[in-house]
Symmetry: D2
Subunit: 313 residues, 4 copies
């Protein structure tokens, strides 16, 4: 039977992927909220979606549904608000009797997991998150291929995705709201690396500013040099010449991991898994959140032989 | 030489058409403002666009450019904020030494034209608006075909474009901010009708609520029954069955005017005309604004033989 | 032992009375929230009040305290946000394990009581409201004097309190946010009348607009003509001549009830009662909320002999 | 003849001093704007003040008055919005044909004076600011006493004014919006010192964080050690013991300047001067704005014998 969804942050950039995932998994969006009212996008999905610009009125509506006939209740609340509001909006979901499906990062600071976990226990509802790289076919294949290898791998992660000045003006540019570059654009990759190579043994951070961060991570089975940036001038010459604005590379033992295809419907895949009872929960999200928090809090180390090549130039 | 543009309301629904028009006419966007910061769309156009969330800081930046080297000055300010802010934002444009290119309706209330015209005279700058139907090839052809006819035409205008509940929650649902249905979704058609059939001789309004309005207009060369709605239940059965959510029909003397194609780049066409010195100014916009204001203020008449068929059902 | 308080809406007009009541009852304010950040008033009470501009961050802080040592937990959340948010903010209080003390009106629409009552039962916490006229010494005396009388009294209630144009621009001028004049400035008096004269038997409404409402109420023991206005031109000549901007009169059987003194510390009195376990709860608030809702929804009756004299002029 | 005023930022902390100054100088407030709608304070002054929550609508109203009968025009716009908006709001004043009376600091960054000065020339209107210490009787007396002395004075300025956590959460705690501690709470004193002792010859800054700054200034006729703080723990023991939350001290050659009295109506005094054509303009404001900007931009020096005693502890 089709499930009922409500979406928090429906006017934002990432919302359409969730709207599509809800529709493409055969479910129904019944309510949405966003402080901005420019949400004509909803008309592509249904003309029967209650809309609110204030979280309090949204909460009132979901409470009313919760106390009404079972058929009308919201089963899932999708959270795609700015990062620093994720945990508050997940609590809202649990309190109105729904499970939460939350964009990454689930929380900015690890200690906010605790209240979420207690609330899960109290409400018997669950918090799920979107770790979409874990359902990427090429990456699943890579993981399988690495499974039996117990030796140490050398990994180099480079992710440069150009953003204009708006980025720093927006909540994404404020570390207390986005967690900064490592959290906001990096958390997916850090989750991927831990999922592929095991838990974190140690870190170093060589550079950290509002638009780029770089460091080193020792995992159980890999040593990772990483470089993350939203600065277009960091793009390799060849990439820029080709008119591209994003460069993404993961090298394992010198070989490029090819995963540029197959990104389009990963949200839908995660929804399918979640609806089938195989969603990613707090325990799954915790290691990469711990890591990004450690990176954010680390002192800067002098460059050494573990430094990513882009930073040594 | 390429012109410099700044955009007010860059995070809204209609902004991308302006962004494309600026790019496709070979010009350059240098600054943008929107109270909401979810404007990643900018990255599709340039990584060198200053962005602001407050109109005051945007004004400061344009003032600074105005007083700097001539090459850096903004030539045009595009206004695509909510309707009720259009005239204030056009004044901002003129004051910082730029021409304004403003979404429809240029103003909600006709008397706000006066201050704009005086300011045009004082600043020697111009306010242009987007009356895109006037550059639609099929409609230009229609106008030519009607030019020599001096007899009275019978016209029926029907425009039903479904909107979900968000519409009434947003500024579009507040008459003081959008002008209501006749102004917000109708002004283009009213401008078209006046452009085709001459000035307004008299009006009747039969119905007016937050989601539908209907009335009659006598023009120099036409008698127009009109019906405008954002209510999906108003869609003709056949349209709904075809899975469409919009129905647009103009019948002249019983024959359907076919203009469903060719809508995609009308903003760009208007920009071309404007940049070539053939833009639509206040004098062009005034008749349809006067008309929509009269419709908004009219008392409701009892239905009669001049009433649109959809309202007589 | 002193109790810990948090306040929602601390930047508003009525907040200082709550701040004083918290202090004067020997308790401690530890957290506050308001979307506007102009809250220097806090410095008059303590320099150790956590402050938030977003309800989500406030909720996170209270959740954290709830899960920390018992001595740090918030016992009461004072709600003095705009009327239409009261019930959502009371729910927040209950959910974080606190009792709510909420400004009038507790809710705008009676059905929102239901979710609050269920949540009270689920959380074992209570929602209290401020019905301060019930603790006014002169009115308590009046009530005592009426207690044994079972005959029908003739009552005339007139309350005219001038407000400038800002009132209609603010949330108070929007019926969906304030409930309109009868709810926003009248609910105290309606509660008083029911408390004095028994339950509502029937109503009539003769006039209703954004700045004045007038009607008739039959109570068990009284027939009430009432007139409420925020329009300064409604002030009696003599009042205006004296330079006053408010006129408040309750006549019982032709005799004026004198209660103009003793208004200053009624909030503190209600706090004392509430802290002593004698607070006013949902059951107390319900009759006057039902009444104001009925008034808001009533059709307008033609004037008759039950109409308030000011409306018959 | 009485002048007409409009006020920007009427809901803020400092607005009441301006409202009183307008009334007490016999003038009339006709319009006001603030994004927050909690402005019942207006009712203490008049019931005929147009109120707006959006600067654009306020601008429209003033433009309309400007183009209407001369008697209705606004002569002065009072600016008491957050610091970083001051210059934009002064430009608004000039553009609608009014003089501006602006809270300190007139601008945060000195280069914003340039556009204001050009606009003054273009519009033939003036920008005034509030430098209220210059009209303080005790300080005028001090200045007179120093006038003929040409020797170097030793000055120690200490200003500690406790603020709770709300301060850092509000715009005042963001350096780009308030200018930081030296600008926000210090600019008056720096203006005073320059007015008393002549222009700045050199500066040192020893400490700078979000709640305290300290440095040294060499003026023509004085060497100034200064210390500014919003941190209650910086209060001298004796001050704290007396239950006070502010400590203000200026010592000249070891002697305390007594000026704790006479602060109540300084805004009104400045208004009187301004209305009489003796207001403080851009030229008056510039030196202290230049100084606070230099302090904000300075590198931190190691402590030495010129360091304020509180920092040497």
């Amino acid at each position: 039977m089709s499930k009922k969804f409500a979406v928090i942050g429906v006017g934002g950039y990432i919302a359409p992927r969730h709207l599509r995932a809800i529709r493409d998994t055969g479910n129904q969006l019944v309510a949405a909220v966003d402080p901005k009212d420019s949400v004509g996008v909803l008309d592509q999905y249904s003309f029967d979606i209650k809309f609110f610009t204030e979280i309090e009125r949204f909460d009132r509506y979901l409470e009313k549904l919760k106390r009404g006939p079972e058929a009308g209740r919201v089963n899932y609340v999708t959270v795609c608000s700015p990062n620093y509001l994720h945990d508050a909006h997940c609590r809202l979901a649990l309190r109105v009797g729904a499970d939460a499906i939350c964009e990454k990062p689930l929380v900015i600071n690890p200690w906010n997991f605790d209240a979420l976990e207690e609330l899960e226990a109290e409400t018997k509802r669950r918090v799920y998150t979107i770790l979409q790289l874990r359902v990427h076919p090429a990456l699943i294949k890579l993981r399988d291929s690495l499974k039996d290898s117990k030796r140490m791998h050398e990994v180099e992660l480079t992710y440069i995705t150009s953003r204009g000045p708006w980025y720093q003006v927006s909540w994404k540019g404020h570390a207390d709201k986005s967690g900064g570059v490592a959290t906001n654009i990096g958390v997916h990759f850090f989750d991927l690396l831990i999922w592929l190579f095991g838990s974190v043994q140690g870190i170093k951070v060589y550079h950290s500013d509002a638009s780029r961060m770089s460091g080193f991570i020792e995992l159980e089975n890999a040593r990772v040099k990483w470089y993350l940036s939203v600065e277009k001038n960091d793009l390799p010459e060849a990439v820029r010449a080709a008119g591209k604005t994003t460069y993404r590379s993961i090298q394992v033992d010198g070989a490029e991991v090819e995963f540029s295809e197959g990104f389009t419907d990963l949200h839908t895949r995660v929804y399918e898994e979640t609806l089938a009872g195989r969603g990613f929960g707090i325990a799954d999200a915790r290691p990469s959140i711990n890591l990004t928090h450690a990176i954010r809090s680390a002192e800067i180390s002098p460059k050494d032989e573990l430094t990513h090549p882009l930073l040594r130039k």
